[in-house]
Every structure is written in structure tokens, then in C-alpha cells.
């Protein structure tokens, strides 16, 4: 008997699913939907709900409220309302840009009276954030979100600079292509531009810029472009978000004419400098025979390079009375100039002195003395031919040891050429011998004669 009972229970349980399906056939829709309220309704009940195609809402069954069992009748009352645009509207709609862009704003400039500058105006600009969180008036942060040059042609404003807020702001296209600004007659800058309001650090997800509108802001200090003296600065306030906005400062504005003038002047100066440099180079090459040029600081110093002669004194120098204050180490010197180049020794017996300034050191000899009287005849014509050297007088000859003045060096070269071209070979040789020993004579005077 007991075994029979167990068998019966087993049969009942094993046929439960089949029975339940038949059993659910008699269940009203709402009863099924009541079970659907449960968090995990029995699977066979869910299947039955699906099979019946009923909707359970709040435990209440419903069929699609809008549809009857006949599909065609469900949709038969649906109407198609055709779209009807006039040609003008259609044209306008088709032109709507698929992406937010500053270019969209162009039409909106009609609401402003725009400036029309004759000359291009170029200003420096910087944009700083103004935070309103703690102060209604706003606190300007002390770093530049963007900076560069602002250029105005007619009324059109372009920016040549860069954002410094990281992320996509590093892409120069936003500063170049997504700025659509104009200058109004009353000096405001209006329009639309891509604006990178938030800092994006390396590794952070980049954000697209905001496209903000620049309006005539009450706080703005417009650009006084009519007065060149006073339009050096302007402040354009920008509303961005509730918590913070921006301020674009314009500074150091310059008219393109003025800039052009300066540019031309600069170009001219550069050209002159290059020309003079080229000329100097050529002249320096010509001076090479007697001078060694050397760049010392900003100057080129020419030191005598014609130095194979040596002065050897035969007797002690005799100090002479100074007639002029600048006659340094003035004395009668007696000795011999030994010159390998000329293969000859020359007797030197002359009154000698040194002239010095920041620009030169010069040896001056009086040509009246017997030993160098052969030069006397040429002193005056050489001075007339080449011009006066420091320490000049009609009976004196100057030998430039060193100078930073190329004109003096050129004159010395002129004297050298003058004597070199003389038919009087004695005078020619003597001049060259003294020049070759000039540095040695100066050293002798400096060492042996009071200043």
C-alpha cells in the first residue's frame, strides 16, 4: 500500500508541468498577471503570459490598448502627415550645419553695427578665467588660458595664438577655424568661438570645446580704435557658465601702417648694415698687408702687422718738453732700426712721442732730424694726399700702431701706399723700416721715457 502511495505521488509530480499548462488554460489573464508581480514568477506562467500575448501592468492584464486582434484594423487609422516646407524654409534648413560651429553665427552679425577699419589692427590678447563661486563680481585667475595676437581687418577678428588648457585645445584648428568674431563700431568684440573652459591634464579624457557667444558685455571696456594713444588696452568680458566666465584682454594694439613703417625701417637698417659689413669686409681685406684685424667686443681692432723691424738704441733718450698735453713719452731717441725684410739697418735720430686714445695708439716722429730728413719732403704731400692722422703737423709723420677706427687704419694704409709708390727708394725704404719697427719704438719709449 505504501509503495502504491509513493508511486502515485511520483506520477503527480512528474506530470505537474503538463497538468499546469492545462490547468492555466482556465486562469483568467488578471490572475496570471497577479503572479507576474512576483520578483521571480514561475517560468511556465511567464510562458503562458507570452503565449496569450497579454500585457501585465500593476498586476492587471491588458492587450495593447491601441490594437485590436486584426493587424490591418490596428494600423488602418494611422495617418501620415506629410512634411510641407516652403522653398525658402527648405533652403534654410538644408544649409544647417551638421556640427556645431562658430561659422553658424555669421548671419547673427546683422544685429550689430560693425566697424570698418581702414588699416589692419594687431593687438596682443590673453584670455583669463573669471570665477564667480566666491565673489559675485568675479575673481580673475592669474594665468592665461589662451594668448597670442588678435588681428582686425575691417571688422573681422582673427586669432593667432594658442590655448593652454590641454586636451583638444592643443589642436590649432580650433583657434584658426572655430573663431567667428567681429569688431563693432563701439569697440566691442562679438560673435562665436570655440572655448576651452576646463583644464585637461595628460591622460584625462579630452572634452570638446564649448561654443560660446561673445556679446556686448556691460563690464567690457571696449577698444577705442579711433584714438591710437588710448587704444592700447581693452577688456572683453565673456559669459561662459554660471560658475566661471572669461575675460579677454587686448594690449599693445598697433596700426598696420605703423607696423609697416617700422618694418620698412628695420629692413632698411638691416640692408645698410649688411652693405656696410660687406664693404668693411672688402676694406679689411685690403688692410691685411699692414694690419691684423681682431674682433674685441663690439669693435674690430686693427693691430700693426708689419713688424719685422726692431729698434735698438745707441744712447739714452733725452726727454723733450711737451708742447701739447697729449704728447706722451716724448723724447729724442737715437739708435738703429734693424730690418730683415729690407736687409738693411737704418739710423734713427728723431724727436718721438706717443699719442693715445680709446681708438688708437700712434707713434709720431719729427722729420726735421738729419737721419730721417729724407722723409721731410714727403710729409706735406702725404698729409695732403691721405689726410691727417692723429698727432699730425706738416713736419711730422704719424705711424698708427693700433686702432679700432677703420678710417684711421685706412689712412695709415694710404700713407704706406703713398711712400711705397715713391720713386725715391731711400724714402720708401725708410718709411717702411720705421713702420715695421714702430711697435718696437713705442715699447722703447714706454719703457724708457716718462709719460
Amino acid at each position: 500500500m505504501r509503495r502504491f502511495k509513493n508511486l502515485l505521488i511520483f506520477l503527480i509530480l512528474s506530470s505537474a508541468n503538463v497538468v499546469s499548462a492545462n490547468y492555466l488554460d482556465d486562469w483568467p489573464d488578471d490572475a496570471l498577471c497577479g503572479w507576474m508581480q512576483q520578483s521571480s514568477p514561475p517560468k511556465y506562467m511567464v510562458e503562458e503570459v507570452k503565449k496569450r500575448g497579454i500585457l501585465c501592468t500593476d498586476g492587471i492584464a491588458s492587450i495593447d490598448p491601441n490594437a485590436s486582434s486584426d493587424e490591418s484594423s490596428n494600423t488602418s487609422e494611422i495617418e501620415i502627415y506629410d512634411i510641407v516646407f516652403s522653398e525658402d524654409v527648405l533652403e534654410e534648413l538644408i544649409q544647417i550645419a551638421p556640427q556645431e560651429s562658430a561659422a553658424e553665427f555669421t548671419k547673427s552679425f546683422e544685429q550689430y553695427q560693425l566697424a570698418n577699419l581702414q588699416n589692419q589692427l594687431i593687438c596682443g590678447f590673453k584670455i583669463r578665467r573669471v570665477v564667480y563661486e566666491n565673489n559675485m563680481e568675479g575673481e580673475v585667475e592669474d594665468w592665461n588660458m589662451a594668448q597670442g595676437s588678435l588681428i582686425i581687418n575691417g571688422s573681422k577678428v582673427t586669432l593667432d595664438g594658442k590655448w593652454k588648457t590641454g586636451g583638444l585645445s592643443n589642436d590649432p584648428k580650433y583657434m584658426k577655424e572655430e573663431v567667428n568674431l567681429r569688431l563693432t563700431r563701439d569697440g566691442h568684440i562679438v560673435g562665436k568661438m570655440a572655448y576651452f573652459h576646463l583644464n585637461i591634464n595628460n591622460g584625462e579624457i579630452p572634452r570638446k570645446p564649448l561654443f560660446i557667444e561673445l556679446k556686448k558685455h556691460q563690464k567690457s571696456k571696449p577698444l577705442n580704435y579711433k584714438s591710437i594713444d588710448s587704444y592700447s588696452a581693452a577688456e572683453i568680458w565673456i559669459d561662459v557658465e554660471d560658475w566661471a566666465g572669461g575675460i579677454m584682454t587686448l594690449f599693445n594694439c598697433k596700426d598696420s601702417k605703423e607696423i609697416e613703417k617700422k618694418k620698412l625701417a628695420k629692413e632698411k637698417a638691416e640692408k645698410l648694415y649688411e652693405e656696410s659689413l660687406a664693404k668693411d669686409k672688402a676694406e679689411i681685406r685690403l688692410l691685411n698687408k699692414i694690419y691684423q684685424p681682431k674682433v674685441e667686443g663690439p669693435n674690430t681692432v686693427f693691430n700693426i702687422n708689419y713688424l719685422d723691424g726692431v729698434f735698438r738704441a745707441n744712447s739714452a733718450p733725452e726727454n723733450a718738453k711737451k708742447i701739447h698735453d697729449d704728447e706722451l713719452h716724448k723724447a729724442h731717441i737715437r739708435g738703429v732700426i734693424e730690418s730683415d725684410q729690407l736687409n738693411k739697418n737704418f739710423t734713427l735720430n728723431s724727436l718721438a712721442s706717443i699719442r693715445e686714445s680709446e681708438d688708437f695708439t700712434v707713434l709720431v716722429l719729427i722729420t726735421n732730424e738729419n737721419e730721417i730728413a729724407t722723409l721731410k719732403d714727403f710729409a706735406k704731400p702725404s698729409i695732403e694726399h691721405c689726410g691727417k692722422l692723429p698727432g699730425w703737423w706738416w713736419d711730422k709723420l704719424s705711424f698708427v700702431i693700433s686702432t679700432s677706427d677703420i678710417k684711421i687704419a685706412k689712412k695709415q694704409k694710404c700713407y704706406f701706399n703713398f711712400f711705397n709708390n715713391r720713386t725715391n727708394s731711400e724714402a720708401k725704404k725708410l718709411y717702411r723700416a720705421i713702420l715695421s719697427a714702430s711697435s718696437s719704438i713705442v715699447s722703447y719709449l714706454e719703457s724708457n721715457v716718462d709719460r
Binding site: 491601441n66 490594437a67 486582434s69 493587424e71 544647417i96
Partner: protein, 383 residues
Amino acid sequence: MHNYKLTRRDFLKASGASLFLSGIPLPGFTNENPPGNISVIILEGGMDGLTAVPPFGDPNLEKMRSSLIPENYLKLNSFFGLHPSLKKLSSFMATNNASIVHATSFPYKKRSHFEGQNLVEGGGLSPFSEKTGWLGRSLELAKIPGRALSLDMPLILRGYSENDNFFPANIQNSNKINNNLIDTLSKVHSMDSAKVFQKVKQKSIENLGNIPRDAESLAEYAGNAMSIKGGPVASVIRLDDFDTHASQGDGEGKDHGERLAKIDNVIAAYKRGLGTAWDKSIILTLTEFGRTVAMNGTWGTDHGYGTVGLIAGGTIKKSRVIAKWPGLAKNEQYEQRDLMATIDYRSVCAACIEKSLGLDHDLIASQVFFDSKLPRVFDFIFS
């Protein structure tokens, strides 16, 4: 049998991003060439269809909600207007690439976000009755599971097979993650937990590049990914904040206007990303319910029933407003408060699936929405 030639390596190479696909379909078991692609923009909170597409031809609109009618709406015809924030959509309508279904909803009337969102994503017969979503089931039926792109893994996309998700969350230094540590951690866990660690490892080595994470940029990215041969065929993007109980506003700069502008931008971004694939694309909005017809005491609207669906894509050849207009008089409203829904939005979803995935309507009705009597509205939208 189809010979599915695209390998994972090929796909990664072609797409330049890899987070969204872990389940590349197996060769021979997939639909090689689905006819199109489908994108769903979920509008969380319950969008007010009467503001988005004001039926200004209904005399009761002015009586019921004069303060909520946008001032400068675009007249689509003699009866319906379009909110000025939906500029790009209006441009698509002008080129016959967008349509509107009005007075529509999923058959859900209880006005709960929680239940409503679950129902419109699950596509079942009651809230929480399904663990998979109608789009995921559709992908299964079309034999293209796994080829889905999403910001998270919403119910709507869940199928019986695993889909992967995508979100560009390249956190600073995440590429320097210690993969040996992850491997070790993975080994001491089993099954699903281990999978999580492996997914973290996989994502850490994938190079996402500079992808902004606003909805618009993601839509463009998604569109681009879907435009690649062998890429995903479905995507979902969520937009929130449509629960406009207060200060809803009537114009472009107002709360609801800004929300609508987001939808507008997302649709336009999809188009940019899709490129020529736009011609075989369908994008539709989905919201859990509409709003009350009348304005409440806080210049907003409360949870309702009927709303609108916005549809765009190159698969639409003739722009139109599709409606069985119920009227806005008190006695025409659902429970004398809401816009009555007269078109089952499941039918609209079914039509979009039919168009994009090439499935038969009856199959969709019975196996995706479990309602064999679901009306077919395909011809109203795509003819």
C-alpha cells in the same frame, strides 16, 4: 554556410579601437551582411513629446499648456511643429532622412521610471520579466550577437550571448597597469570573477586615443565604428535629465530645449561618424513614457503616457509625421491627464529592426517582443 573572414586581428586593425567587441561571431554562424545598422538613443526620465513636437493644430494644446509651447517652433505642416532646438533634425527632415511617430509609447502606463525603463529596454510583457533586451534578442535572431557598441551594458542590448561594452575611460596611467598582478589575481578567482580581471587586463592594453566622452563625440565615434565593414551593427547611447517636473521651459535656452539640443547633436554626430554608411542606418529615440498634457504647479510636467519617437537615417526615404492623433481634450487624454498613446512603439522598434537587421516582422513580434499580434508599421516609416 557563410565564411566569415574577418578575424579579430583584422577588426582591431581596421577599427582602431577594440573595447567594444569581445564576442566576434564565429565563422559560419553569423549573418555576414546585415542590411543595415541600428542605433538607439535612450532618453531617460520620460521625454515630453508635446514640447518636442507640438501639435499646434490641436486647439486644446494652447488651452492645456500655453506656457510650454516653444515660441518659434518650425511648422512641419498644418498640424505639427518641431522644437527650435531640433535644428539638425529639421535639416534631416528637409532632406527626407527623418520622421516622427507621435502619440506613441510602449504599452506601459504605471509612470514609474524604474519599471518603465526596464520595460522599454527589456521589451517584455511586464517590467522585470526579461533578463535580456529587445535589441540583444534581435541581434541573436539575426545571428550577429556580440557586434554591439554601447557606453555601458544596458538591458536593451543584453542577449543570450555576451556582448561587450565600450566606454573611453582611459584613466591616467591606466596603460601602466601591472598585468602580472592581474594574472595572479585572476588565477585565485574562478569563473565570472576571473573574467572580470581578464577584461581589465584586456582594456588596459587597448589604445583608445583621444576620444572625448560627451555623448556627441561618442555618437560620432560609434557611427564611425559602425561604418567599418565587419564593425558593430548596433549601438546605444543614453541621455538623461528628461524628467522635467519643474521649470521645463519653452524655448531653446531652457531646460527641455537644451536636452532636445543634445538629442539633435547626437543624431548629427552619428551622421558624421557614419559617413556613407548613413544610407543604411536607422537611429531612433526611446523613452519610458511621456508627460502630462497640462503643466503642473512648478512650470513642469509630470510622468505621463504617450510621447514621440524621433527616427533618422538614410534608410528613411520620405520624411513625415506618423500618428493616429488621439486629441488633447480632457476626455481624449489617458486617464484625463496624459497624451494617449495610439501607436505601440514596439511596432516602431520592430520596423527598425526589420529594416536594419533584415528580420521578418512575425519573427520579431513573437520572439523579440513575445506578442505575435504586434502590428506592423514598417510601411508607414520606410515606404
